[in-house]
């Protein structure tokens, strides 16, 4: 856990960078509607890639090579995928996935 000053620095950095992305059209393009085609393309194509990488980041400390071979993670992740394809209810998928993961951790 970080100290108070470190936490302020971290949250402040995230807040400033986030605010910069939101203020960007006003700051950089002076409000013009056009953006370079490559930037527009990446703006749409990058998010699906980023979301997959963030899943990998969340699972980075699972033990894939030793017991329990990331089985709780894999089982809970599959449950989330299946439930979400079926019901399309984010809250339900997240809640059921998390509860089943907490339960599975008790088993191993």
């Amino acid at each position: 856990m970080h100290s108070t000053v470190e936490t302020i620095c971290i949250l402040g950095t995230i807040a400033l960078v986030t605010a910069f992305t939101r203020a960007f059209p006003y700051l950089v393009f002076g409000g013009r509607r056009s953006m370079p085609a490559m930037a527009r393309y990446l703006g749409q194509a990058l998010p699906p890639a980023i979301m997959v990488i963030l899943v990998a980041y969340c699972l980075r400390n699972a033990s894939f090579t030793a017991y329990p071979f990331a089985l709780p993670e894999i089982a809970a992740a599959l449950l989330v995928v299946g439930l979400h394809l079926w019901k399309r209810n984010s809250m339900l998928s997240i809640l059921a996935g998390t509860l089943s993961y907490i339960f599975l951790l008790q088993l191993v």
């Binding site: 971290i10 006003y26 979301m51 980075r60 998390t98």
Partner: protein, 239 residues
Amino acid sequence: MQSPRLRAFRFALKLNTPIMIEYFFLGIASGILLNQAGYAPIWSLLAALFIYAGAMQIIMVPLMSGGASLLTIAAMTFLINARHMFYGIGFVERFRAMGRPRSIYMALSVTDETFTALSTVQYPENIDPQLGDFFINLTAHMTWVISCFLGGLAGEILSLSIAGIDFCSTAFFITAVVNQWQQFPSHIPAITGAVSAVAFYLLLGPDGFILPALGASMVALMFLRDRVWLKMKEEQERA
């Protein structure tokens, strides 16, 4: 007769109800996560007020616990929130007309969800559109602030740490992947992300792979642009 302000507020409240319900639950989850990592509820409140970006507030918890450097955190924030740069473009004139300081607040409080609401809203004649826009952003933002703080408090009351509760961030991003897999016209971006994540995880291990994987995906997608673009165009024409 209601004042124009109250009418606009009630209109925004009704329009925003689904967003507010989503923010309520996600905010609680994000507050609990940050609290379980050892941070008092006030941090959740401050983060909600000044960061106000769901995915970032959820992924920042493992980043902070994992001891990521400030530079890594800044770069990741930029990449994850870069999509906001595109949301703003269409609203520049609309927000500027509201005058400062309200226009600044509007520019800084657009999210995935309020972007959609602002883009599709149609105001009846008795609603002032500028007031309506303002209350759309304000009600969503305040819901987020309150629910993140409540989540922090809930974590405090639970007090004992629950092993595995951090899986709700994993689950959150999995649902985002499933949504985009079904909605985005091409699967190339998602596959690119998966390949680069696995490759750099094997190469660099769990602590150093995320930024290289994001960077490599960006470069790969620039090279694959023609193929992805083609799919996106096809989809547009069909719509």
